[in-house]
Symmetry: C2
Subunit: 134 residues, 2 copies
DNA sequence: TAAAACTATACTAATCGAGTAAACAATCTG
DNA sequence: CAGATTGTTTACTCGATTAGTATAGTTTTA
């Protein structure tokens, strides 16, 4: 019921990139310093954001990271799912076989959780980084 | 971002009790069998529900558990908080000093998460066990 | 007073989270 | 093209948490 530290750092990193002039490439150590995150940990997180099409990277001298699309097109949900996968409130919502009662198909609680989970995703999706970076 | 197994079991236990005739005392092993939960684990969870005023217990021969108040007065949020404490999406929402940037006071992300967290609590609070037990 | 029930506390094994390390691959510059 | 720079990949560690088990204790009632 708590987001990962990595996700928190991911939010900060994307927010920081959204605050840079458009097209500016920022290297990892600069990002890490500004958002106050251990650089090695940040370096491990970034590839997830790249695979999700949220940021782009450039290697070699003068390399670094930049957003891969407009900040208003990136939501908290996008970053969260890129780093820790889809939101799941309960394991039975991923794998019905997980339920020790084998009741996923008719369980009222299952339905309620599925509903809440959907609402939660929508809430995370309401926030984009153009607004957050202000 | 996922609820505890204990919370899941708590939901089931309260739901099962809500399905019993009013005032009926049900012993732990009966509950455990019906909701398919290890009895020792269930026995460990129940005291949290008692402390939260959700169920009552009776010791000795013929003892067991019953709801402490009407099912419509018990929500998913009540049970969740009884078992795993208040919902917190991020540690900085409990303890602002936790933020490695020390930015909780002015961080836009912090505000967004606080907002989402509030909505999430409200969602869990919308479901009561009179409805869930149908 | 003995058995039946819940309570409290401590223990354990497995998993997960956060962070570190090291070897590697790409890119630029002189 | 050599070497420095910067990101990538994968593996490792250590501590915390989770899920569950065990045991000794307390209350109640027949």
């Amino acid at each position: 019921m708590i987001i990962n530290q990595a996700t928190d750092y991911g939010f900060r990193a994307v927010c920081y990139l959204a605050q840079q002039p458009q097209g500016e490439v920022v290297e990892a150590h600069t990002i890490a310093q500004n958002i106050v995150v251990p650089i090695r940990f940040l370096l491990k997180i970034m590839p997830s954001l790249i695979k999700a099409g949220i940021v782009k990277s450039q290697r070699g001298v003068g390399g670094g990271y930049m957003l891969a699309r407009a900040p208003q097109e990136i939501t908290l949900l996008n970053v969260l799912e890129a780093i820790e996968g889809p939101i799941r409130l309960n394991r039975c919502l991923i794998d019905p076989d997980y339920c020790s009662r084998n009741a996923a198909a008719y369980c009222e609680i299952h339905d309620a959780l599925a509903d809440i989970q959907k609402k939660l995703s929508q809430e995370f999706d309401r926030y984009n980084f153009a607004d957050l970076a202000d």
